[in-house]
């Protein structure tokens, strides 16, 4: 079952002489439960692609369907609501809200949705992320690895259709990186969570089900390794 479908996605920055084609007519699709790694040299358009998939940027042309919804057909508010329910974003910089504590940061999409929060679900998540002792800590009281785990929790909390991660371990040491990946894989396997991850790290990429290689805004390779 296709959870994500991308058709002729193009993103052009700037105008005239300074024009850069960051993404050039890219098409592919991802099935539910897949773990896809996206690799490629710096400046090849990986982040641009991820932003377009996450609905936080506007494509120059092309379409993106997530769970059969054409996301660029939605207006701003609808898209925002769609994001908090169906898309989980993880960044290299953890981008937590400094005035909210761990638990609040994690449940942010649910809070924004005004949904009732099941405490059991939250506690389970805290356990899974190894943050069970820190629910009321503020982000600046945490280490980098812990902060990234909070942001993973935030991305997974609303059980979205797809989780998009842009170099989630780029800022972490080897051991922390391994731990983060293990976590992501665990959610992928145990909860059939669809996962798209950009990484520089060959070693990490090889743990995915499928690796897409991008160069100059185009897909060069798309191979299933598992």
């Amino acid at each position: 079952m296709k959870i994500l479908e991308v058709k002729n996605l193009t993103k052009i920055y700037g105008k005239g002489d300074t024009q850069v084609c960051a993404l050039d007519n890219v098409s592919f699709s991802v099935d539910k439960g897949e773990f896809v790694a996206i690799v490629g040299p710096s400046g090849s358009g990986k982040s641009t692609l991820l932003h377009l998939l996450g609905g936080v940027d506007q494509p120059s042309s092309g379409k993106v369907w997530i769970d059969n919804t054409d996301i660029y057909d939605l207006n701003e508010s609808q898209l925002a609501i769609f994001r908090r329910r169906q898309i989980g974003l993880i960044y290299q910089f953890y981008n937590l809200i400094p005035i909210l504590n761990v638990e609040e940061n994690m449940t942010l999409p649910l809070l924004l949705d005004g949904k009732k929060i099941h405490q059991k679900h939250v506690t389970d998540m805290l356990h899974a992320l190894g943050l069970e002792t820190k629910p009321t800590s503020l982000p600046n009281q945490l280490s980098g690895g812990q902060q990234q785990r909070v942001s993973i929790g935030r991305a997974l909390m609303s059980q979205p259709a797809i989780v998009l991660a842009d170099e989630p371990t780029g800022n972490l040491d080897r051991q922390n990186s391994e731990e983060i990946l293990t976590l992501l894989k665990m959610f992928n396997e145990n909860h059939n969570q669809t996962l798209l991850m950009i990484t520089h790290d060959e070693h990490l990429a090889l743990q995915a089900d499928r690796v897409i290689t991008i160069e100059d805004g185009r897909i060069m390779k798309d191979e299933r390794i598992r």
Binding site: D57, L89, I97, N140
Partner: protein
């Protein structure tokens, strides 16, 4: 410039908007200080000049100094000029037309001092020799070039003529035609060289002024010497006393009126009041400015802490880091202070241009008010402002010195958030939603900035409301102190037989003057009555107690012209028949305007009722005691206030209107006993009061025997209005600028708060905050700010308003006035302003895309 300072300059340039705002704050506060001080100095200068015009230009006067000792005064190190006065005294004009004043008073002065005397030459020239003189232009029938023969001599009282007992041969000894005579010593001849206007010298009823030049004097001759000093300070009292002994002077006197405006007065009270006022104004400016500037530097430091941390990691010392903040203050100050000085001066110059005529009117000044720049004061302002900046940068500088390399690496763009400070209660989320909770947490995240913003808002609210109250109290007391009388001009005559005879034709001619709308004529006669305590309003009864259980109250008996009487019948619903048929009947007008301490109040003076009898007492000289001379029966007691009688009184009287025949009866009886002392008052309504005043004065000149006076009530009303306007003008300018400082401060913090949260907003959007949700968050943030500010601001304002009442209106009876309109205005303004500011800053920020913001690290 070292590298740290270079970075500081770069940082200031990069944050142009905020640097500008900081400077605007400094500029306003410097301008206000400059304007306040310059205003004070200019006023004082005007008062000094004006007083000199009236008193002459001198500070110390030595009476009766032997001529031989004058050089001692001249050589004193602090002497600038001398006025040497040889008072030749009274003289009678020989073979001249009769004058308004019977004598001439001649003073010979040293030629150099003519400029320092308080008169102006209206025609001709100043005298050059002891045989020449200038005379007052009040003198009639003489011309320049005339030779006048003067009989010099002394005034003596007739009773003592044979003993030659002198009257105090003082200029201001009133002339008493029947009781004094003149003894001639010698005859002298003077040539008139010019006429002088002596209006500014207080007028004597006995003599016109004349000045001549001092001639050669014997060395023991005693003259009066007035000294203009070089330096005026407190030691002049001590110095002059010593000098006075050295020169054998009989007495030292001081030009107190003038010295008052040099601050060299013995009157401590005035000084304390002025000082308190200055300290209060200074403190308000200081606090407002420090909060604004401190806040601005804190924000700036927050943004710079990463640089400073980086610099610390490569070896910047504590001192260098601290100095970088002081350096920032130096840059801001060296640009903003000169601009502020200039704007303050220009501002006050423009203001004075507007209000100068008002000030002249209010203070009866002959001098215009000009901007006076005192270098010393301006230096003071610079020091004061530098102090404000230094004070405001102190804490930020200290913080800067403590920034560690780790802070630079850990990147504390935000000051660290503490758990405690962002804790909010559960109900906020439950009631208003999560966005509202986020808004509230945001407000509290940075305690220092939150407090600064709150403080600025509270200060503005409190200042504004207190001022509104203050001016209200002030204006309400003015409004009441206007003689509520409808009259624009009042003419009052002492009502003896001679005066009455001349008044009759006068009144006829008043009515012929154009531009008079209405004339009311009132004969009044003030006597006393005795009442019981119960008959008086307890609020005022103590004024009248004679200590023996009886209360002596003034009674203003009056009768009015027929037409006015008709009007009173109508307006006060008087039972005319009852009044007219009542033998010795009177109508008591019971409402009085009572003045007590600083306040005014309209109240009923007595509890008297119709049919009550009011006994009139007079002093029986034979029996040497008071006796009842007449009695009035009240036919009616009215609450109507006679339009011409609503003067404000400290010791209110019973106002009783009687019929003309009744008045005549009382008058005849009193006159027979030689006791009558009534007044005839004419109240005039007119559009052109000064024209009518002048006309009536002209007529009065033709009746020098009539003992009367013209009051221009309209002019005094206008003067009070001018005072009111002036006070409001300066207070509201002050308050406007203070509020502006507060506003700038709030603007600064709110916009910066939003700016710094750019990425945070982007992040919130990326996890699905809708535009509506975003607006809700911002709305709640402004709402909470506004609520907090009002929560503190309003009670404090109420407290201050209440205190103002306590202080200003101890007896104010109108109840505690609450300016609801202004409060509603304040509430509205606070919310409009905060949400407007937030809206403005978020609007500017919407451009930033989520993607852009995501590229940067946030925590």
């Amino acid at each position: 410039m070292n590298i740290v300072n270079k970075l500081t300059v770069k940082h200031l340039k990069k944050n142009k908007r905020r640097t500008l705002i900081t400077m605007i704050g400094v500029i306003i506060s410097v301008a206000m200080t400059t304007a306040t001080i310059t205003l004070a100095i200019s006023m004082v200068e005007m008062f000094q000049k004006n007083t000199r015009n009236y008193t002459g230009d001198w500070q110390v006067a030595y009476q009766q100094v032997p001529v031989k000792n004058i050089p001692i005064i001249e050589q004193d190190h602090n002497t600038a000029h001398l006025i040497i006065e040889n008072e030749l005294g009274f003289a009678k004009l020989v073979n001249q037309k009769e004058q308004v004043r019977p004598y001439l008073y001649l003073t010979a002065v040293n030629q150099e001092s003519f400029n320092d005397l308080p008169f102006t030459l209206t025609s001709g020239e100043l005298p050059q020799t002891p045989q020449e003189m200038v005379v007052s232009d009040q003198l009639k029938g003489v011309a320049i070039g005339d030779q006048l023969t003067l009989a010099m001599g002394k005034r003596v009282s007739i009773a003592d003529e044979n003993n030659g007992e002198e009257l105090a041969n003082d200029l201001y000894e009133p002339y008493q035609e029947k009781e004094e005579t003149f003894i001639q010593d010698e005859v002298k001849t003077y040539t008139i060289t010019g006429f002088i206007n002596t209006e500014r010298i207080s007028q004597s009823s006995a003599a016109d002024m004349a000045y001549s030049v001092i001639g050669p004097l014997t060395e023991n001759k005693q003259v009066n010497v007035k000294v203009e000093l070089k330096k005026i300070n407190r030691s002049l009292y001590q110095d002059s006393r010593l000098l006075s002994e050295a020169i054998d002077s009989s007495e030292v006197t001081y030009n107190q009126e003038l010295l008052r405006f040099y601050g060299v007065t013995d009157n401590k009270e005035v000084q304390v009041t002025l000082l308190t006022l200055m300290v209060i104004v200074g403190l308000i400016i200081l606090i407002g400015s420090v909060v604004l500037i401190y806040n601005a530097f804190m924000i700036s430091l927050g943004e710079r802490s990463r640089h400073l941390g980086m610099l610390a990691s490569i070896g910047a010392t504590k001192r260098q880091k601290r100095n970088s903040v002081f350096f920032e203050g130096l840059i801001v100050g060296s640009i903003a202070i000169p601009i502020g000085l200039m704007m303050g001066i220009v501002g006050i110059a423009l203001s004075l241009q507007v209000v100068s005529p008002l000030i002249k009117n209010i203070f009866d000044s002959t001098e215009d008010i000009h901007v006076v720049l005192s270098p010393l004061a301006l230096i003071g302002v610079v020091i004061f402002s530098s102090l404000i900046i230094l004070l405001s940068t102190w804490m930020p500088a200290l913080k800067a010195s403590r920034i560690s390399p780790i802070d630079g690496i850990r990147q504390t763009k935000y000051l660290p958030v503490k758990n405690k400070s962002v804790r909010t209660s559960k109900w906020v989320r439950k009631v208003f939603g999560f966005e509202a909770e986020l808004g509230l947490k945001n407000i509290k995240r940075n305690r220092q900035r939150y407090l600064a913003t709150l403080f600025s808002m509270i200060l503005s609210i409190v200042l504004f409301l207190s001022t509104v109250t203050f001016t209200h109290v002030l204006s309400s007391s003015f409004d009441m102190s206007y003689e509520n009388t409808k009259a624009d001009i009042a003419v009052m005559f002492f009502n003896d037989q001679t005066t009455t005879d001349t008044i009759e034709p006068d009144i006829k001619s008043y009515e012929q003057i154009d531009r008079i709308d209405k004339v009311t004529q009132v004969d009044s006669y003030v006597v006393t009555t005795k009442l019981t305590k119960e008959a008086l309003n307890p609020k005022i009864s103590t004024h009248y107690s004679d200590g023996n259980g009886s209360y002596q109250v003034g009674v203003n008996l009056m009768s009015v012209d027929d037409q006015t009487m008709e009007e009173i019948y109508q307006a006060a619903h008087i039972d005319q028949a009852a009044f007219e048929s009542q033998e010795m009947g009177g109508i008591l007008f019971n409402r009085v305007s009572y003045h007590h301490e600083a306040s005014y109040e309209v109240l009923n003076i007595s509890n008297l009722k119709a049919e009550d009898e009011v006994l009139l007492y007079s002093y029986d000289q034979g029996a040497e005691q008071e006796k009842v001379s007449d009695s009035i029966t009240l036919s009616q007691v009215s609450d109507y206030q006679l339009p011409f009688m609503s003067y404000i009184q400290e010791f209110p009287e019973l106002t009783i209107v009687v019929s003309k025949p009744t008045m005549e009866k009382i008058r005849k009886k009193q006159e027979a006993e030689g006791m009558y002392a009534g007044f005839s008052n004419i109240y005039i309504q007119t559009e052109d009061a000064s024209f009518v005043e002048e006309k009536i004065n002209d007529i009065m000149l033709d009746y020098p025997d009539a003992n009367g006076h013209v009051y221009n009530i309209k002019a005094s009303k206008q003067k009070e209005e001018a005072i009111h306007f002036l006070i409001a003008f300066f207070i509201y300018s002050f308050i406007g600028l203070m509020t502006l400082i507060g506003l700038v401060s709030v603007f600064n913090t709110l916009t910066t708060n939003i700016q710094l949260r750019k990425q945070e907003f982007a992040m919130l959007k990326s996890v699905g905050l809708t535009p509506q949700g975003f607006n809700k968050m911002i709305r709640f943030e402004s709402l909470f700010y506004g609520l907090k500010a009002l929560l503190y601001g309003l009670p404090i304002s109420f407290l201050i308003m209440y205190l103002l009442y306590q202080v200003m209106m101890p007896q104010f009876n109108g109840g505690f006035y609450i300016p609801w309109g202004s409060i509603a205005g304040v509430i509205l303004t606070v919310f409009v302003l905060t949400s407007g500011l937030m809206y403005y800053s978020t609007k500017k920020m919407k451009m930033a895309s989520i993607v852009e913001a995501m590229k940067n690290e946030m925590l």
